[in-house]
Symmetry: C2
Subunit: 399 residues, 2 copies
C-alpha cells in the first residue's frame, strides 16, 4: 500500500460501471430507456454471499464513500470515518457496496448524461426521481451482483430514507435497515429550505432553464447560495458558535463569543464579508458549486420533498412496516435541527406499533446534522457493535 | 370615525416629517450632512410630558406601527395588535412615538433618498448604520419633541435591541426598557442567514451594484429570495406544520400531515411549486419585494450583525448595564428559534449580575419569532399590565 494512505483505509479504489439495458419505469410515470450505475465496493464477498452491506448516499454524496481514487487525493470518500478495516462498517467482515444514484452527477445516469432521444445532455429533461426509484435500481444492481440478501442497508439523512424504503419495498431482501439522522418525511420547514435552494439555482442568469451545459456554463452563484443555505441547516447553532468563536474576548464568557470571530479583526462598515462564518460558507459553497451539477441538486431536493412512504398506507407508516421482517437500527443526534431526534422517534413509534425489532440510539453531539459523517466515538462504537452482532447472526445462521 | 376603522384602533393617522440640519456622525466614521425622520404618534402627550413611549421597529418595519393611512387600507400598522385605545400599549394613557429609522425606505433618509453630493439616489453610497446610530437619532428626535424622559422604549427583535442600547447609551432618559424576542447579539447562525439574504440580493442581475434605482429597476428576485429565507426563520417548524398541514389524511396522525399540504392535490414531478408552504413563501416574498428597498434590506441585516453592546465593555454586557437605572422587561417565545428564550435569558443574567430590576416572561406560543407581532392573549395581557404599572408610577411620582 502506498505510504500516504492510512492503514485503516480501504486503500486506492477503482469505481466500476454497470450498464442496465432494460427500460426503467419511474414513479413519475416516465421511463429511462437504459441506465448506468457507478459503484464502489470495499472488502470481500464471502462464499455464502451473506456479508454484503449497501451504503446509500445523501443529497450531495456519491459512490465514493471510502478510500482514495489516487495516492495524492487530498480527501478520502465521504464516509471514510465509518468504512474501513476495523471501523464501524468493518471491511474485514463486510463486503460494502456503494453506488451513485440515478439523477446524480458522479457517473450514474443523470442530467449530465447524454439523452439518447436528443443526443444532447439530459439537463432539465432528466425525469424527477424518487427514493422508491432509487431503491428499485439498487435492487436491480443487487441482482446483477448476485447478492441474495443484504446484511444491512445503511445510510444517513436522505440515505437513511432509502434504508427505510428498502424495509418497506423489499423487506425480505435485507437483514437490517439502519437509518441515521433520518426522518419519516420532510416537514414544511424542511421543504421551505429546499425551495429556497431551488430558487437560488433557477434564478441564476446562467441557469438557462437547466440547459447551461449546452452553453458551456453553469449557475455557480445560484448553486453556491443553495449550498450555503443547506450548510447552515447541517450545522447546529452550537457547532457554529464553537467553530467560529475561537477568539475569546478579555472577559471570558463561557469560552467563546457566540461564533462572532471577525475575518480581519475589525468591521468593514461595508457589504464585504465581516465574520469568519460568512467567509467559511462562501468557501464551502463555491467549492461545492465547482464540483456538483445544479440539475442534480434540484433533483435531490425534490426526492427529499417527495419522500413519504406513509402515503401508500393512508398516512400510517406503521402499516407500511407491517410486512417488514428485518431488524431496525435508528440513530439520531441531539443538536441535529434538520432532522432532530423527534423525527427518528416518530419512525421508532411506528415500528413499535407493529411490534418490530428496533434499536434506537440518541447521541449527544454538538455537530448538528453533519454528525452522522463524523467519527464521534459513542456513535461509531455503537454502530460497530450493532453491525458486529449482525455479522455474528448471518455467519452462524445461514439465513 | 369612519365605519371601516375598528373602535380599538388609533384611527386614520398622518405621518409627520422632521428635518435635522446638523451633520450626524455615524459609528462607521462617516457622516450624514443632514437627515429627515418620518414619524407617527398616537395618543396625547400629558402636561408633565411623562407619558411618552418610543416604539422601535425591526428589520422590515417602519413608522407605521398602528392605525390606518386611509379608510380603505387593507391592513393596519405592523403592531396594531398591541397599540391602540385599551390595548397593551394603551393610547388612552400613553403618547406613542414611532419612527422610520435612517437607512429605511419609508420616508426617513436612506438609500432611496437623494444624495446631496451627487444629486442622485444614495443607493449603495448610503453609509452602513448601526443600532447605536439609530438610538442617537431617536435621542435627537426626543429633544425636538421636547420629551424629557421616555416612560418606555419598546421593540421586538431588532427593535428590542434598540431598547437595550437606550438602556446603555441614555439610561437616565427612559423609565423602562422593553425588549421582546431579542438577543444580546447575533450568533454565527443568525449572521449566516443574513449573509445568505445579502448574497441573494447582490447576486440578482438587476442589482447593478446597488444602483438599480438609477436604472429604474430593482433586484426583485433576489429580494424575494432573501425574504423567503427570512420568513422561514420567523416561523417555527410547528407553526408551519399547523399552517400548511390542514389536510388530515384518512389515518389521523396528531391532527396534521407535517405541513405537507399540496397546492393542487398531487405532485407535479417537475420543478413547479408542489406544496402550499412553497406557494406561501413565494407570495410573501414577492409582495415584500414590491414594497421594500433592497439596499435598505442590506443595511438592516448589517445593523443586526454588528449589534453587540458588550464590545465596548470587553465582552461583558453586565458592565454595560452597570450605570443603567431604568427598569427592564424581557419577553421571549417558546418556539422562537431565531432568538430563542435562551438569548433573552442571557440578557436577564447580565442584568441580574449587576443587580438591576428585571422582569422576564417566557410565553408559550406556537408562532415562532413572529409571535411578538401577534395578539397572543397571555403576552398582550402581561405587556399591558406591566405598562399600566409604569403609567401609575410615572403619574404618581413626577419623575
Amino acid at each position: 500500500m502506498i505510504n500516504s494512505v492510512p492503514s485503516d483505509s480501504v486503500g486506492i479504489i477503482k469505481p466500476k460501471e454497470f450498464h442496465f439495458d432494460n427500460p426503467l419505469e419511474l414513479a413519475s410515470g416516465r421511463q429511462l430507456p437504459f441506465f448506468d450505475l457507478i459503484v464502489e465496493t470495499y472488502g470481500e464477498l464471502n462464499v455464502n454471499k451473506s456479508n454484503a452491506v449497501l451504503v446509500c448516499h445523501a443529497l450531495s454524496g456519491d459512490h465514493h464513500a471510502a478510500g482514495y481514487h489516487a495516492a495524492n487525493d487530498r480527501k478520502a470518500g465521504w464516509w471514510d470515518a465509518c468504512i474501513g478495516p476495523g471501523k464501524a462498517i468493518d471491511t474485514d467482515l463486510f463486503f460494502v457496496v456503494s453506488l451513485n444514484n440515478i439523477g446524480g452527477c458522479s457517473g450514474s445516469t443523470g442530467p449530465t448524461s447524454t439523452n439518447p432521444e436528443t443526443g444532447k445532455y439530459y439537463g432539465p429533461d432528466f425525469p424527477v426521481v424518487t427514493v422508491k426509484d432509487w431503491v428499485n435500481t439498487q435492487f436491480i444492481l443487487m441482482k446483477r451482483l448476485e447478492i441474495p440478501k443484504w446484511a444491512a442497508v445503511i445510510g444517513g439523512s436522505l440515505g437513511g430514507m432509502q434504508a427505510i424504503q428498502w424495509a418497506i419495498s423489499y423487506s425480505e431482501k435485507l437483514h437490517s435497515a439502519i437509518c441515521i439522522a433520518g426522518a419519516p418525511k420532510l416537514s414544511a420547514q424542511n421543504i421551505a429550505f429546499n425551495e429556497v435552494a431551488r430558487q437560488s439555482i433557477t434564478s441564476d442568469p446562467n441557469f438557462f432553464e437547466g440547459r447551461y451545459l449546452e452553453k458551456n456554463t453553469s449557475p455557480k452563484k445560484g448553486l453556491t447560495l443553495a449550498r450555503m443555505v443547506g450548510h447552515i441547516t447541517y450545522l447546529s447553532d452550537n457547532a457554529m458558535r464553537l467553530k467560529f468563536g475561537k477568539t475569546v474576548m478579555d472577559f471570558e464568557k463561557e469560552g467563546n463569543n457566540f461564533g462572532r470571530d471577525l475575518r480581519s479583526g475589525k468591521l468593514s462598515f461595508g457589504f464585504n464579508v465581516d465574520f469568519q462564518v460568512e467567509s467559511y460558507l462562501h468557501y464551502q459553497g463555491e467549492r461545492f458549486s465547482e464540483n456538483f451539477d445544479a440539475n442534480t441538486y434540484l433533483l435531490m431536493t425534490k426526492a427529499l420533498d417527495y419522500f413519504d412512504p406513509s402515503v401508500d398506507y393512508g398516512g400510517d407508516l406503521s402499516r407500511g412496516f407491517s410486512e417488514s421482517n428485518c431488524d431496525f437500527l435508528l440513530i439520531s443526534f441531539s443538536t441535529d435541527w434538520r432532522f432532530p431526534p423527534e423525527r427518528s422517534r416518530e419512525i421508532v413509534e411506528d415500528l413499535l406499533k407493529t411490534n418490530k425489532e428496533v434499536t434506537y440510539l440518541e447521541i449527544e453531539a454538538d455537530q448538528g446534522h453533519d454528525a452522522f459523517l463524523l467519527p464521534i466515538p459513542r456513535y461509531v462504537a455503537a454502530l460497530k457493535s450493532y453491525l458486529n452482532r449482525i455479522y455474528n447472526e448471518i455467519t452462524t445462521n445461514a439465513s
